[in-house]
């Protein structure tokens, strides 16, 4: 979990950053690797539930695993962006909800969307004639974010 000491950036910058993250997420869902490359630093590092992917080749592999496919359609939603400026960089965190749908065209219906993953994204952005993602880390809502709770988190559903 990122260190959140210090002053956050202005509300308007958080507002704009939310659009940038939404754009990245939407391109991920679509499998738009070229679009993601334009929004990402060439040395971008992406982590999802502990699995790491580095550089544009790593990003391509990540997209192949997480994008929507004919078998599983995915939508990555975000909310509640916080962000801090660290010199030439921005760090941010936001809540993430991924919805998945397995299309089942039949007389009985065509599938229902389901919440499939709840967690948060921690991002690092660098200025390259526009903000670019240098690192994105997606973590399930567990672990460090729950350490302040006086009662241990439920380990089983």
């Amino acid at each position: 979990m990122i260190d959140v000491q210090g002053e956050q950036v202005s509300a308007s910058e958080r507002f704009a950053l939310r659009e940038l993250i939404a754009d990245w997420n939407r391109r991920l869902d679509r499998g738009d690797i070229d679009g993601l490359a334009t929004l990402s630093d060439p040395d971008v590092r992406v982590t999802f539930d502990g699995a790491g992917f580095e550089g544009l080749d790593g990003l391509r592999e990540f997209v192949s695993l997480r994008r929507s496919t004919p078998e599983v359609a995915r939508r990555t939603h975000l909310n509640h962006v916080q962000a801090w400026r660290r010199g030439e960089r921005l760090t941010s965190r936001s809540l993430t909800l991924i919805v998945a749908l397995v299309p089942t065209p039949s007389d009985r219906g065509d599938g229902s969307p389901q919440p499939s993953w709840v967690g948060y994204a921690e991002d690092e952005l660098v200025w390259r004639d526009g903000w670019r993602f240098a690192a994105r880390s997606f973590s399930r809502w567990s672990g460090d974010v729950l350490e302040r709770f006086p009662i241990a988190w439920q380990e089983t559903a």
Binding site: E13, A22, D23, R75, H80
Partner: protein, 315 residues
Amino acid sequence: MNGHRLDIADRSEILDILARAAWAVDERRPEDFVEQFTSTAVIERLRREGEPRRWGGERGDLTEFVPAAWAGVHVEDAQTWTSDVVMTPDRDGAHVVSNSLRVGSASGGLSNVLLADAEIHDTLVHDGARWRIAHRRIVPLGASVAPTRAPRPTADGEADGDADSGADVGGVVDRVEIEALFADYAWALDTADTDAVLRLFSDDAVMQDPFGRFTGTGPDGIRRFFEGLFVRPEFAGRIHWVSQLVLSPIDDGYRADSYALVPASFGSGAVNLHLMAFYRDVVVRERGRWKFRERLVGPRWERVQPVRLADGGAM
């Protein structure tokens, strides 16, 4: 509108319009729904297979979109979320892509199901007085439809808006700061950071638990309330997903109505939608930032006629 750019006031107003359109669908208010559209607007709802369904102002059936959205839906209540919004200036206005997550609920908000998750492509125009939706294309999740455009936002707040100057355009810029308050609250609440939560309440604040089980008043009461919440064994692992703000000016702040969805994450990897609820808040400025003076959480609150911020919501 600022030429062909979208400044922070434009973006805030557009979010306000999208939220009001969603509330109007959920509260079955067709006239308020079409108020967010131009008189010649067209709505297209694509299907995973088959021809799109269309409604239009010129056809005179735009209001029919609202009952169509409820056809075959048998739930106690529903929330339509407009999220993940990306706006791009267009030659004639703005192109806005968003996601629309629709949640149906029963058992007083404790049994919830996703009804739909669609991508929405809106074209908005400014008629000199306000923004309105001129065209809406609804693409359901899983539809094999090529995206229309991939807009590119700027993350440079200074280059794209003037919110930091303190200028307010009809109160709409306050929305941006109030949304930041909601984000800070969600992070503080969901990580059990009591001190951070308390910093977001005014000195005279009141907090009411869902369905009226407890009311905490003032800093000590608010602290007791949240400390009591955080020791509840089921609370850890939930996130508070709050949005769809509709702000109405009151004496020294705003009444803020919003949607709340509480997904829960479990160690096994399972996820559920624990709660669907509604916030009704009073937010005021205190010591340089927006804070909650009153937080009420519960089932859908009785409707109070809201005032569009751009129509005189300036404080």
